[in-house]
Symmetry: C2
Subunit: 397 residues, 2 copies
Amino acid sequence: MSAFETRRDMFNLPEGITYLDGNSLGPLPKHAVDQTRRTMTDQWGEMLIMGWNKADWMALPGRLGDRIGRLIGAPVDSTVVGDTLSIKVYQAVASALELRPGRKRVLSDNGNFPTDLYMAKGLIDSLGQGHDLKVVDPEAVEDAIDESVAVVMLTHVDYRTGRLHDMAAITRKAHEAGALMIWDLAHSAGALPVDLAACNADFAVGCTYKYLNGGPGAPAFIYVRPDLIDQVRPALSGWLGHAAPFAFDLDYRPGEGISRMRVGTPPVLQMAVLDAALDAFDGVDMADIRARSIELSEQFIAEVEASCKQVELASPRDPHARGSQVSFRFEEGYAAMQALIARGVIGDFRAPDIMRFGFCPLYNTGEDVSRAAAVLSEIIASREWDQPQFKTRKAVT
Amino acid sequence: MSAFETRRDMFNLPEGITYLDGNSLGPLPKHAVDQTRRTMTDQWGEMLIMGWNKADWMALPGRLGDRIGRLIGAPVDSTVVGDTLSIKVYQAVASALELRPGRKRVLSDNGNFPTDLYMAKGLIDSLGQGHDLKVVDPEAVEDAIDESVAVVMLTHVDYRTGRLHDMAAITRKAHEAGALMIWDLAHSAGALPVDLAACNADFAVGCTYKYLNGGPGAPAFIYVRPDLIDQVRPALSGWLGHAAPFAFDLDYRPGEGISRMRVGTPPVLQMAVLDAALDAFDGVDMADIRARSIELSEQFIAEVEASCKQVELASPRDPHARGSQVSFRFEEGYAAMQALIARGVIGDFRAPDIMRFGFCPLYNTGEDVSRAAAVLSEIIASREWDQPQFKTRKAVT
């Protein structure tokens, strides 16, 4: 067993539920409830507009950025929180394209989360400057990097299979070809060690409602390499990225360093929740989280494969080649996942046939893993999934 | 006295505070505290990822959009909530420019809130297609509308003086010249009647933390004219504006109608607060709010001018030509506002010399007005503002 000690008591985990979907939405950190209430009553309620000064709400995007920065190997003052991940992707791609004006290609892969591709394509269509978005298989990315590429944009951990890209190797390859590198850390931040500074990534973005437990619709983050930020012209040049937002100048002047990647008024209440959620990482070494995550996922694969022959591992078998999730393919995966959920084992489904299970050592235990593996095997063996109520697709899957 | 009945008891108004800054940040609606707690504990806490279906979080952007739509004359299904006002401005301008490909001018005025100008300029600089942003005096807007203009972008109520643009007349003028019209309703929504449908506006945007009391960093909204929306290509093409977000297609297809103006995952907790805050408008007729707002502002002007000769009215004297705020110019306005705040009368200051007071009939009373006018006059008459502690500029003013 690894040295990692669970912090399960910090989270609200409903009785009878085995939660292996923290890679979609992390559970509620119990103390976030009171902390948010106090932000509402003691800050907004009592300080009113003066909260911006007295409670220093304006500092939240940078302060939370630094708290996340510690988990992803980002130096202080290089990460800022706000907006949604889609918006942060747009900022990164727009900035990168302007930094490589002679090149017209954005390179990505078909394992990227679709919104990253949509945002890049939407930007390219707006620009009308002859850029293209080239999307290849994940295994073909390195070979597709050449001197036509302005920017390589990849998600570190594949949201369906958990396959992990080699951040250092691909970033190096991109730089050798003169391209810039954007990493989406949606399934990495809080899940496994990331060292942005060591691998010299140019941009990184991510969301905070998965492994960081910031709650539904929690804001996103963006990192820009410190020695690059002064060259970045913010395409989304909002007033809170201005050098002096409250001077109300008619002309935009980008703020110092990473502050220019701020756009509009920060979502203070959603940030209060995230601030509380990040407490769960205080004093935690991401290497210990990773070691424990690998134990849990190895246990899950072994137990499922020992008792259930009908499913096929969709994740890399090498634990060092996958993130903190395990996916199995099963033709009736949608119905099987609904049957699992009906029994209180929560994972999720991704079309066409992927059953996804996330492992979060902060609160998941070996007993969670054993129960999930046992229930999955029972449901498949007994064809418990083969009932009409499990086959009706819901809006959000 | 108008027929409007105060709903002051719904709001947390600290003892001893006279709050005339709801045009910057509305006060806390008391029941929002419990409603937000329940969203955290009963929805996020107990439903976990299933909240997206069981609590219908995915419907929040449209449902809240319709609640706001009722206050601004927008038909059902034409308004959606999300992101920040800066982002919504960007969406509107980007869409408008693509709808007028042969024209290169964005026309605005120097009474617009700076972030609107920054976002438009940032977009234009990204496009590199020879667009320009022409910024004229508010009085010169109508004459500057000609067939070179692709889009006219204005804030309805001037954030400094409260001067009101004639929405119907300017929109008509823009349309006659073949231009599109974007209205920023930041200081209008919830403050005075707006009829987007009647004036045939093409786009409208606004924030919800001012007169709508949605809390610090509450999300913004965007309206698109229903017969125009099908032609709009979203520049910010995020997955939640996709026709089928959970199909995870690699290619973007815009969603039905206004749903395409959604971008990323909605900030559910911040939206829960806004949902509660909008209850204060249930059964309220905006015409009654407006009548009472005019009474309060007329009383304020009369009382201040009767007792204080050193300040100069910066707002239009005709109540029908101004929004729900009154501004006075005073050379030492910054220090005087700090002295007022020290005495518990909260307005705010806008450079270079504007003292701003907002009137919100939902909770402001005639006693608030009298107290504010009396304290302002005392502070000026006694030069109480002339102390060093009132002259030190704070980060947020």
